[in-house]
């Protein structure tokens, strides 16, 4: 099955709200081997001017994961997870994610390129808070290996 070139430019529906919890931030922070008090200690985060615990910069991947599920579930896209390799990743942030944020993500397929038997899909997931303000955009290129 090959990748549908018409994916380019497609905008997926905004994900349901995701409430960022303290314990989720602690869990994710331990997982990326953080020892930063802003990720674990509410008092330290508040002393630094934040409302609550601060998430590590790559925490936005949890939101991107939700949009990736939309792409994989799109039968019209022609993507199988077992054929997918992560090519590159980028986060452009307006501010860090903080516990208590209610986030949504809206994914746009920025480009679809084929190179040899492989396809490269670049997606941009715009992550906003409950007020609709930009928090971070997560940009990812997935390499989908062709059938061999």
């Amino acid at each position: 099955m090959s990748i549908n070139p018409e994916l380019q430019g497609r905008v997926y529906p905004q994900t349901p709200g995701y409430l960022v919890g303290r314990e989720k931030i602690r869990e994710f922070s331990r997982a990326v081997l953080s020892a930063n008090p802003l990720n674990f200690d509410v008092e330290a985060a508040q002393a630094a001017g934040y409302a609550d615990l601060v998430a590590p910069p790559t925490f936005a991947i949890v939101m991107q994961e939700l949009t990736l599920q939309q792409l994989l579930a799109d039968e019209d896209a022609g993507i199988e997870l077992s054929h997918v390799v992560h090519g590159d990743q980028r986060f452009s942030q307006s501010r860090p994610i903080v516990a208590g944020d209610e986030l949504t993500a809206t994914m746009t397929i920025a480009s679809v390129k084929t190179l040899g038997g492989n396809a490269m899909i670049t997606s941009e997931s715009r992550i906003e808070d409950a007020e609709g303000n930009h928090v971070v955009t997560s940009i990812s290129t997935l390499v989908v290996r062709g059938d061999s």
């Binding site: 994710f28 997982a31 081997l33 590590p56 077992s82 090519g87």
Partner: protein, 143 residues
């Protein structure tokens, strides 16, 4: 303390601002899978990893990306000073079931604009003497 304009202006391109080694075990991968929701089997099953042409279980690229920025965050002080963080995944980090893996991170000043108060920090991230991330760059501003 967070990075201020004065500290930024005193930097030079090439300065090493932080370095750290991280030890990964198979436990680290299970923990990251649970925390991130990425349950791709190549991160915990050698047989499946080998069936798709890999040497064995490898770390999630996003785990490597996530840990590599930690020394920069500690140096910056305030995580809001990061504007942009990007990497390219170029080589796998194989995590041996018994001995694990060590990932080394060296963070250097790659570009500096003292007037604008911005810098680009380049990360050299290696495993087994070879770099595993390409174009690993953190764009920051002074607070």
């Amino acid at each position: 303390m967070s990075l201020d304009l004065q500290t930024l202006a005193a930097l030079s391109v090439g300065d090493v601002i932080a370095e750290r080694d991280f030890s990964l075990t198979r436990d680290s991968l299970v923990r990251y899978a649970g925390a991130s929701g990425d349950f791709n089997t190549i991160h915990y099953r050698d047989d499946i990893a080998k069936s798709v042409g890999l040497d064995g279980v490898l770390a999630h690229g996003m785990l490597t990306m996530g840990l590599a920025v930690q020394p920069v965050l500690d140096w910056l002080g305030d995580p809001a000073l990061i504007d942009d963080y990007q990497v390219r995944f170029t080589r796998p980090v194989y995590v041996d079931a018994e001995t694990g893996a060590t990932v080394s991170v060296i963070a250097k000043v790659g570009q500096l604009d003292a007037e604008a108060g911005t810098a680009r920090i380049d990360l050299v991230v290696s495993f087994n003497e070879a770099t595993v991330l390409g174009k690993a760059q953190v764009r920051v501003h002074a607070g």
